[in-house]
Subunit: 246 residues, 2 copies
């Protein structure tokens, strides 16, 4: 009997933002392979006796290579087990879910994809920022500032994208980002926010004009999301009173 | 005693993609105001005796004006009730959640925002398409082709955005979209998909080069999402075997 893999998005960190199907899948799993960005409470949903493997980091602290994770998924599925691959956010938004799905499909293993609450809108929401708003922004551009090959992002096209920019990135690159975007023509006064550890109890939010963002956000812990555009200014009207899911 | 409003995203339609916090909020609600794009099964989670109001459409079929919905939210909250405002997808992604949150904040009503699984990535996923993929697309541009004022979208900037385009739109505008984008320089051979009723049991997916998409997708029912870019071609490698959450 061949097993199967359920590729599950765990959402941005708040355990209330796990989906009902994610909870079901965790309860069914024989093996759970998870990364570091999942809510720890998700693992409470795993049945007793199931195997839980952290593929985010090794003992030494380095990232487990993607090929090794793919091999683990294949091996456990071939052993006839129900394997849940649990990823922070959504598997198909900078999550390498596509690479895992292709590796499994090529090996003839059945895959079910369970989308998660992506940080794209949920993390700005947790800071009181809607990524779209009538008359303010009818477009969202989502990018990452830690390209796989460590190349700089294409600042020129980001600067002229219009609407809201949502950037998944390490805060160590914030200074380069601000310089790159301003150099490419985006105004230094563009309303900007950094949301550090969005949706988690120790979430922190900094807002500042883009030019001042790197200085204001110095020292914030990751993971972080950067939001740029006029929607950031709506925060003052939406707060106070807005709380993210407990 | 003043009540409060919980602004809840219901996800793309599959009831398994409701979050755990959404389910809790529905069970707590005294009143639920919902639109037409929610999973009907969500209403099974509402406790007996709670009031359920469809603010999506009136008897005559026309949309309830946003101002009237805002008034209903305010009135029920001022009556001391726990009000759940349940919206398809995510409240802050083309959902007017920001407008409702501002109206409530200005009236001094507490609002909790519970992000939902947005269609941005979940609907392409339900068709076997990852919106990002290493070496294929590291950027996603999300826009709508039914602008509030019925203006045409800015085809020029969409055509040069790069990466993946995800367009929330009525299929009646597909022909104008294809002509607009190709006229603005996007290749007519760009891999393209229409996902009709994504994540629902009667979901349908059409893929074709952009130039042929309007003809191939004619007659599909809404709501629909259009996906453009090289990630669409990954579908053949990810399928078969990929299933969305039941």
């Amino acid at each position: 009997v061949t097993g199967r893999v359920i590729l599950v998005g765990a959402g941005p960190g708040d355990p209330g933002l796990l989906t009902r199907r994610a909870a079901e899948a965790l309860a069914q799993a024989d093996v759970v392979l998870h990364d570091q960005l999942i809510p720890r409470e998700a693992l409470d949903l795993v049945r007793a006796g199931a195997e839980v493997i952290d593929v985010g980091k090794r003992g030494g602290g380095e990232q487990v290579p993607q090929g090794e994770t793919n091999e683990l998924l294949l091996r456990h599925a071939r052993d006839g087990r129900v394997v849940v691959r649990l990823k922070g956010g959504d598997p198909f938004v900078f999550g390498r879910g596509g690479e895992e799905a292709i590796a499994l499909a090529e090996a003839g293993i059945d895959v079910e994809v369970v989308p998660g609450v992506s940080s794209i809108a949920a993390v700005p929401a947790s800071a009181g920022i809607p990524v779209t708003h009538r008359g303010v922004a009818d477009r969202v551009t989502v990018a990452t500032a830690h390209a796989a090959d460590d190349a700089e992002p294409d600042y020129a096209s980001l600067a002229r994208a219009g609407g809201t920019l949502v950037l998944f990135m390490g805060l160590g690159r914030l200074d380069a980002l601000a310089r790159g975007l301003i150099g490419a023509g985006l105004s230094g006064s563009t309303p900007a926010a950094v949301v550090s550890r969005g949706s988690l109890p120790d979430q922190a939010v900094i807002t500042a004009p883009l030019a001042e963002l790197p200085e204001c956000a110095a020292g914030l812990p990751g993971p972080a999301l950067v939001v740029l555009g006029d929607v950031v200014a709506l925060r003052e009207r939406i707060l106070p009173g807005v709380l993210l899911a407990s």
